[in-house]
């Protein structure tokens, strides 16, 4: 309802990105505009035909063949218009398709090169928005708005030129209402501009009130306060109505007046009176008033469309800008002197890392993972353990020090080589909407069904997959609905088949349903055998056999060693172990298990 004023807020970014997107298509867009201009001019011909007809008939003794020629031209012009308008739309749609395909390809190509750490939920949402809303906004601007504007401008200009040739004085006087319109329109824009912030605020408030109310109503109901939340929401709705009504009413008054000034009825009266005066004075023949009635009324029609076009154009500019923001994300630097790892020893050398350049998440972390051993990283939340694990597969690059595989800095290893070395199984299981067969052989597309089944068996999931209606050909999310634990086992099978010598496990059993936890554990045992493993685990009991435990706190290594050694040292790890044991006593230790007693002691740490 706020119209152009609302849009103006988004327009600040300049036209650079939109111009860049459209530049290669300029010739075809110009062609389409030319076609559309021809169609617009043709659309005036039937009106002119009536005038010609009138001149022929009013004079008496009409020339039959000329009358029919005029009628024939009118019909022909309609056909020409149809043809050219259709052609123009075909051209712009083709241009739009090319732009869409090009943008999508560029976007995917680019996304394949940005740091993995960039793909947070937030940024994935931005990708989605760029693809859905922004490409759609561009579609409208390219495929429709350009032509609509061309038509809206060409038709009145052609009409005006024609009218000037009939009688230039009357032609000018037809436009007499325009200055008045412009005055009211400017006043309206000014008022709207003054209140833009207020309007934006009112719309923002009601939108967040709606979202909050709808999202939160279930929670609020469970606490018996539906009425209160409801009152707050109703209050927000009333506020919106009052603010919006108060602010917009004067703007709307001006708008109603300004559009009334150029309404067809007013134009009709103006032209009819002027025509009668001119004819009365003998300045024009009465019949010459006709083209002004026929065409003059349409002169002001594009004024309404213009605001509409501006609005679309502004959205397209904003859309192009946000598409470019995605495309402007800096990609991972390609290695300057590519190197190939020699062996699979993993070394973290004096590693420092910061997400924002201010807070050090990791600071001087040094650790070596010998080939074929399990290294566990433990520490309280916020100690940097997940971040450390993410540096190895290059979700992010270190801000100081280096991470090496087989003696080579991971930044020097070409991406395809790196991922042949490093595999990972994350908390968040990622199965593609593809067949289970293709999901498992993602890393080795050439693998046979037998090979895939072998790893699935090792991952304790073969029986479940075989039992699906279409077996391994079932598509995830369509006819294969797997539980969290089952999906995790599929991802373990995938990692088994990819067979990377180095493996990162980030809390791989976290979201498993308890029923399938044992099966996942068996699958993991199968997976880690013989590999160099870096594991992040909350359940300390699962890592007591690790070859090395690295204890992080505040981004620094505070202890390292084997479980027994760390327990004996009675340091930080020992504390964590005791806290863990009191919260999660050994499953078979029944007597100490009664945690849920009234007024528990609470001195867990």
């Amino acid at each position: 309802m706020a119209g152009p004023s609302e849009q103006a807020a988004t327009a600040g970014g300049g036209m650079g990105p939109l111009a860049a997107i459209l530049a290669p298509e300029r010739p075809r867009l110009l062609l389409a505009v030319a076609l559309r201009v021809v169609a617009s001019v043709a659309s005036l011909v039937p009106f002119v035909a009536i005038y010609e007809l009138a001149r022929e008939l009013v004079g008496g003794a009409p020339d039959n063949s000329r009358v029919w020629t005029v009628a024939g031209v009118a019909v022909g012009a309609v056909l020409v218009r149809f043809l050219f308008q259709d052609l123009a739309a075909n051209v712009t749609h083709a241009v739009d398709m090319d732009i869409q395909l090009r943008l999508r390809r560029r976007m995917t190509e680019h996304l394949g090169a940005v740091p993995l750490g960039w793909f947070t939920d937030n940024n994935s949402g931005q990708v989605k928005k760029a693809l859905q809303d922004d490409v759609e906004a561009l579609h409208y601007a390219v495929a429709h708005a350009v032509l609509d504007l061309a038509g809206a401008i060409a038709a009145p200009i052609a009409a005006l030129v024609y009218l000037v040739t009939v009688d230039w004085r009357l032609a000018l006087l037809t436009l007499i209402t325009l200055p008045v319109y412009a005055m009211f329109h400017r006043a309206k824009e000014r008022t709207a501009g003054e209140h833009m912030g207020e309007l934006g605020g009112a719309m923002g408030r009601i939108n967040s009130a709606v979202v909050e109310f709808v999202q939160g109503i279930a929670v609020v109901k469970t606490f018996g306060q539906a009425r209160r939340a409801h009152d707050t929401f109703a209050q927000a709705a009333d506020d919106y109505m009052n603010t919006f009504g108060r602010v917009v009413r004067p703007i709307l008054r001006l708008e109603a007046v300004s559009s009334a000034i150029v309404a067809p009825a007013v134009m009709l009266l103006v032209v009819a009176v002027e025509g009668a005066v001119f004819a009365g004075l003998g300045w024009v023949q009465p019949v010459d008033v006709l083209p002004f009635l026929l065409l003059g009324l349409g002169l002001t029609a594009p004024l309404g469309h213009l605001a509409y076009f501006v609005q679309n154009f502004m959205s397209a500019v904003a859309a192009a800008k946000s598409i470019h923001e995605v495309l402007d994300t800096p990609p991972l630097a390609a290695p300057e002197k590519p190197g190939l790892p020699d062996g699979h020893r993993v070394e973290f050398v004096d590693v420092a890392f910061s997400y924002d350049g201010e807070n050090q998440v990791l600071d001087g972390v040094t650790a070596t993972l010998e080939p074929g051993t399990v290294t566990a990283v433990v520490g309280p939340s916020g100690s940097g353990k997940s971040t450390l694990a993410k540096l190895l597969p290059r979700f992010y690059d270190v801000t100081g020090g280096s991470v090496r595989i087989g003696g080579v800095d991971v930044r020097e290893v070409p991406a395809d080589q790196l991922y042949r070395q490093v595999g990972f199984v994350l908390q968040d299981v990622q199965l593609l909407r593809a067949s289970l067969l293709d999901n498992i052989r993602l890393g080795r597309p050439g693998a046979t069904l037998d090979e895939v089944r072998a790893v699935a068996r090792a991952a304790q999931i073969d029986a479940r997959l075989t039992a699906l209606p279409r077996g391994y050909d079932s598509v995830v999310g369509e006819d294969a609905h797997l539980s969290g634990g089952e999906a995790q086992r599929v991802s373990i099978a995938r990692a088994l088949l990819a067979d990377t010598p180095v493996l990162v496990l980030d809390e791989a059993t976290a979201y498993a349903d308890p029923e399938s936890e044992a099966a996942i554990q068996d699958a993991l045992s199968e997976l880690v055998a013989g590999r160099t493993v870096l594991v992040i685990a909350h359940r300390l009991s699962t890592i007591v056999d690790a070859d090395q435990i690295v204890v992080l706190d505040g981004g620094r290594v505070v202890e390292r060693g084997r479980h027994e050694e760390l327990i004996a040292a009675e340091g930080r790890y020992h504390q964590m172990w005791r806290a863990y044991q009191s919260a999660v006593p050994g499953g078979t230790d029944e007597t100490s298990a009664r945690v849920l007693v009234p007024h528990g002691h609470g001195e867990v740490q």
Binding site: S43, P46, F47, A49, A54, V58, V70, A71, V75, V78, F82, A89, H93, D96, T108, G112, A113, F119, V127, K128, V214, I217, R227, A234, A256, V257, A263, L269, A279, L294, L297, T373, V374, S381, F395, Y419, R420, F424, Q430, L432, A434, L442, R494, A518, Q521, H538, I543, D547, Q548, V557, R560, R562, Y580, V584, G587, V595, L596, V597, P598, Q605
Partner: protein, 593 residues
């Protein structure tokens, strides 16, 4: 559509809408009359009788003035009605959502509802403010003109009247064609976009398995398909979009030809004919605008339909005279329940058990056995198909939802936090609580420990949906709410995800504080199960397999004993590498820093 609009906006708002529609029709008729007055103006003028035109010009001026006033009035009215209708809709949505069963608010539905309540309401407002007027006047004005033409020449008027249904059919055909093409394109676009979003979200996995950039076949395929489909339909659709405009113009051209024929035959007065032709040609235009409104209306209509559907969802029945619960025990008696629209076997099939006041019952069973459904039926997310759920000896359907939720504190896995401070989020549990009580509840649930780590402490806003906190931290806030609420019955769905030791300890401690309540726990931790006064084991068909204490059930050696053995094995699992090479770091502990 108008009828649906009236139903959605509500009966008590009928009158203003009717008034607005009447104004629009008045405006459209006046505009038509103004146009028609052109004929008596032109008739003398074309004959060269300028003086004879002046009285009619006067009439034209009066009609024009009336039209402008009517335009102004309906325009402001449309704005006011739109705004009031939006307000009316917000209130109706608010009222109605407050009465819907909790079970209605599933994840996807809440998201769609939020969209409907924001952009859907805006669309309906826009209907009043921008769309109804051109739509109605685009039909009423030409109709007025055509009817008035009978006063002058019945042949031309009849021709126009015949053209109307033809134009309508052409319009229907073109809208249908465009809609079909749009739908096919939308589907292809949705598929391509889904693939790209998948590509972005799963980038770590894709890259780890060597699918870098354009190497991802499914994505390339989706993009190519989308491009192909879009091109095919764009070609098909372009004529569909132009055809209505052209049909209108063709009708005009036919009128010219027809008029020429009449005039040459000397059957009509030339001046009158010309005046009528001008009329015909001018009125083509508003009809074209009606055609262009079609696509906008389609999306508004879809919003209206969804809104209608939501507003006609039956509310949760409330008892005429709510009873008060006597005590805080829970009893399920032969409960059967299946989800709406889910064919096949019921989720719960004859479940009976009792949770005595002040004791703890653990619910265990495989996923899909209906554990969550049991807790939700107690909280009356839905009503049972048969059997009954009693709280304090009274059927929950007789309690009334307010007094039922007053008995319950729920700690479920999906915790929604408002975009407000942590303190405000905890206070949701009991808005009347003092600051000290809120702090105390926070301390008991270990939330104070989270607060110390946050940049602005207690005043940190936690973001919509609680995005700024981890899952374990959110559950602690939810526990604090439950502690603050201090209800006699606690329904708890233990987190399946492993919490880190700090979170784990905090949660356990908080639960310990509530152990004198009646508790029903969906238990994932062995120690919770062992600690229960009673264990209810559900089987995969939604029936109670066993009930008893831990020792009794182990002795029975049934489903529970098997579950216990499997879980115990999982509890002692250790990750072990290949230890054939000599162990690393065999030296002493090396403290750093």
């Amino acid at each position: 559509m108008i009828r649906q609009l009236l139903r959605v906006v509500g009966d008590d708002y009928r009158a203003p809408i009717h008034r607005f529609l009447t104004s629009v029709v008045c405006y459209a008729v006046l505009q038509g009359v103004t146009f028609v007055l052109l004929v008596p103006v032109l008739r003398p003028l074309l004959r060269g009788d300028v003086a004879g035109a002046w009285p009619w010009l006067g009439a034209l001026a009066v009609a024009t003035a009336a039209t402008v006033v009517a335009y102004y009035v309906q325009s402001l009215q449309g704005f006011r009605v739109g705004l009031e209708a939006a307000n009316q809709l917000y209130h109706r949505i608010g009222d109605h959502l407050a009465t819907l069963p909790l079970g209605w608010f599933s994840g996807g539905r809440v998201g769609r509802m939020a969209k409907l309540a924001s952009s859907g309401v805006r669309e309906i407002t826009g209907l009043f403010a921008h769309q109804l007027q051109p739509l109605l006047s685009g039909i009423v004005t030409p109709l007025t003109v055509v009817l008035a033409m009978f006063l002058f020449d019945w042949r031309l008027a009849t021709a126009m009247l015949v053209a109307a249904p033809v134009l309508y059919l052409v319009h229907r055909w073109s809208v249908g064609m465009v809609a079909r093409a749009d739908q096919a394109m939308d589907e292809a676009v949705a598929e391509a976009n889904d693939r790209i979003v998948e590509f972005a979200r799963f980038q770590p996995t894709l890259r780890a398995f060597g699918r870098v950039g354009a190497d991802h076949a499914a994505l390339e395929e989706a993009m190519r398909t989308q491009d192909r489909v879009a091109r095919r339909y764009a070609r098909r659709m372009a004529p569909g979009k132009a055809v209505f405009t052209v049909a209108v113009q063709l009708a005009v051209a036919v009128a010219v030809v027809f008029g020429a024929d009449l005039a040459l035959g000397g059957a009509v007065d030339v001046a009158e004919l010309i005046a009528l032709l001008v009329l015909v040609v001018r009125f083509a235009e508003p009809i074209v605008e009606v055609g262009e409104l079609g696509s906008v209306l389609r999306s508004t209509r879809a919003s209206l339909e969804r809104m209608d559907e939501v507003l006609s969802t039956p509310p949760l029945p409330e008892p005429a005279q709510p009873l008060q619960p006597k005590g805080s025990d829970i009893e399920l008696a032969d409960v059967r329940f299946s989800y709406e629209g889910a064919a096949g076997r019921p989720v719960l099939d004859g479940v009976s058990f009792r949770v005595p006041a002040g004791t703890m019952t653990a619910l265990v069973g495989p996923s899909g056995s209906g554990k969550t459904t049991v807790t939700r039926l107690i909280a009356r997310f839905w009503d049972v198909d048969s059997g009954s759920v009693r709280v304090g000896g009274v059927d929950v359907r007789e309690l009334g939802s307010e007094s039922l939720v007053a008995q319950l504190a729920m700690v479920f896995q999906d915790v929604y936090l408002f975009d407000a401070t942590i303190a405000e989020n905890i206070r949701v549990g009991r808005p009347a609580a003092t600051d000290d009580e809120v702090r105390e509840a926070a301390r008991l649930a270990g939330v104070d420990e989270i607060v110390h780590r946050l940049p602005q402490g207690w005043d940190t806003r936690v973001g919509e949906g609680g995005a700024a906190l981890s899952g374990g931290e959110r559950q602690r806030v939810s526990l604090a709410r439950a502690i603050l609420k201090d209800a006699p019955i606690v329904l708890l769905d233990e987190a399946t995800a492993a919490l880190d030791p700090q979170n784990e300890a905090a949660v356990q401690q908080a639960l310990g504080r509530m152990a004198d309540r009646t508790m029903l726990v969906i238990a994932h931790r062995l120690q919770t199960v062992v600690a229960a006064d009673q264990i209810v084991v559900l089987d995969s068909r939604g029936r109670v397999a066993e009930v008893g204490t831990h020792d009794e059930l182990l002795a029975r050696d049934g489903q529970y004993a098997a579950f216990w053995r499997e879980r115990s094995r999982a509890g002692t699992w250790r990750l072990r590498g290949d230890r054939s090479p000599s162990p690393v770091g065999g030296g002493s502990v090396t403290p750093v820093a």
